[in-house]
Amino acid sequence: MKKVIFILLALVVIPTPSIAKKFLGAPVIPEGKVTEKMDDRLELKTPLSHDEVLSYYKKALKGYENIKFRDWKNDTYIEDDGNMQWHSITISKTDTDGARVVIVKDSWTWIIGTLVLRYIGVFMVLMVLFLAMTFSGKIISSVVAKLEAKKAT
């Protein structure tokens, strides 16, 4: 009996370590209330301000190497470039009564999409260069030809 009382007392007295919830390995802010949950997306509403949520995530993700914080106009976008299951955590700046947090799963759609865009981007860069060279080439060639013709006469 004494043992049982001791264990019960210990459970009450000894502070239990807080186990933070996670979604796809991403920390979920404890004050958040889930407003939408799917396999690849979790949306939360929290009474905390944007800055408080941001500082929570800065602390929670401290030590992770491939995490990037992007400061956008309406959101702070936390992106993982490593091997995490989650891809991004978006913290809204515009909500008046707290902040909205959206955690999204890492997806091949994003990777392939960004790669295709960048491949097209390389074409665009060289295409612009091609146009610039074609035009400048034509202009310079005609100017040089005129100058040479003048010299000849």
Binding site: R118, L129, A132, V144
Partner: protein, 380 residues
């Protein structure tokens, strides 16, 4: 002095030698270092780089050598080269300055269409990225590995140092090794991707390019790159500066230095620093081996990308381009262009493709730098 004291002294003295700190995996690294020295000396594969890289690998893989660490808070010799040359990203840019001072962009200016081949040849870079991520590399590591297919050593080093410095050694080694093996890797792919009629396509002689156009080219190119892919302007800016120095004709001394002495000096530091990053503890894992195997695939897909781009362009062009010049869209200047020439001559002894292949070859340099810039922008 007692016998014990003498033995202790002997024992502690012996522990300051490398013999007592020896590990078996160092032997593998010596073999790898010696293999690259052999390839450089006996096979003449990119000797200017593979020789110092090979020696760098060999010499840092001895126990207790004070080369790549810190003693009493001061960086050791090769660590100094590595820190100021590569970590600060100075050497790849200076090499580009020298390359610019050596390069004649005339063939590219005369036929600017070939710029698109340089873009098409970056296909492997983006496909390899996907494969590398699938295997478990981080996105940054995947980007740095995939650029190997662009076959541009300084760009590979620049991007890797920027995104995944821990892979610098294997990436640089794979890039330079495959660049050296262009004459072995590309011809079978070129044959596979073309038919005999296509290989015999004759291209019209290139128009002469005026000095004014050659002077304007580096200015226009740096302006466009600075606007569209600013992340890569340290490399491309230096490349274009070197070229402007050459084409202006008024700074012959600077041009000579950039393409001669300066280039040679930084090549020594580059080679030994890259080799020195490859210590057994870091190198002997699955990642470098994977990088080597995937680098080959990357290179092959880039070659295919260049050839396919020419074929697509030919659907719309009146004057057809010989698809053999498409393989030169991977950088590897001027080796890839020479391969196009040799392959072209095999099927028509009077069809000289060298000058036509130089255009895509130089476009490949710009294309791989643009791809690198896209990756840097993606992660910065």
């Amino acid at each position: 002095m007692t016998a014990d004291e003498i033995l202790d002294m002997l024992y502690s003295t012996l522990h300051t030698t490398g013999v007592f700190n020896f590990q078996w995996n160092l032997i593998i690294m010596w073999a790898i270092g010696c293999l690259f020295i052999y390839l450089a000396i006996a096979k003449k594969y990119e000797p200017l780089l593979l020789l110092p890289i090979g020696f760098g690998i060999f010499i840092v893989n001895f126990p207790l050598v004070p080369l790549m660490g810190y003693s009493h808070g001061h960086a050791q010799l090769l660590q100094v080269f590595y820190h100021y040359g590569l970590e600060w990203e100075v050497i790849p840019c200076i090499i580009f300055l020298g390359l610019g001072a050596m390069t004649d962009f005339g063939p590219l200016i005369a036929n600017p269409k070939t710029l698109l081949i340089g873009a098409g040849a970056q296909l492997g870079v983006f496909i390899t990225f996907t494969g590398t991520v699938l295997v478990g590399f981080t996105l940054k590591e995947a980007a740095s590995v995939s650029i190997i297919g662009g076959a541009d050593g300084p760009t590979t080093i620049y991007l890797t140092q920027h995104l995944a410095p821990q892979l610098l050694g294997p990436n640089a080694l794979a890039a330079y090794s495959y660049m050296a093996m262009v004459p072995l890797i590309q011809p079978p792919i070129m044959r596979m991707m073309t038919n005999p009629e296509e290989r015999k396509i004759r291209m019209r002689q290139l128009r002469p390019v005026s000095r004014q156009e050659k002077i304007l080219f580096p200015l226009v190119t740096s302006g466009i790159i600075a606007l569209l892919v600013p992340a890569v302007i340290p490399l491309m800016g230096m490349f274009m500066l070197g070229n402007l120095m050459k084409e202006s004709g008024v700074v012959a001394r600077l041009t000579d230095t950039a393409q001669g002495s300066l280039m040679n000096i930084v090549t020594i530091f580059l080679g030994i620093s890259v080799g020195a990053t490859m210590h057994a503890d870091k190198f002997l894992s699955w990642k470098p081996l994977f990088i080597f195997s995937l680098g080959l695939v990357d290179f092959a897909v880039c070659t295919i990308g260049g050839i396919v781009t020419v074929k697509i362009m030919n659907l719309f062009l009146k004057e057809k381009i010989n698809p053999l010049v498409g393989s030169a869209g991977v950088s590897a200047v001027p080796m890839a262009a020479r391969v196009s020439q040799v392959q072209g001559l095999k099927y028509d002894k009077t069809n000289h493709l060298l000058m036509h292949a130089v255009g895509p070859n130089l476009a490949g340099v710009i294309g791989s730098a643009a791809a690198a810039g896209m990756f840097i922008a993606m992660f910065d």
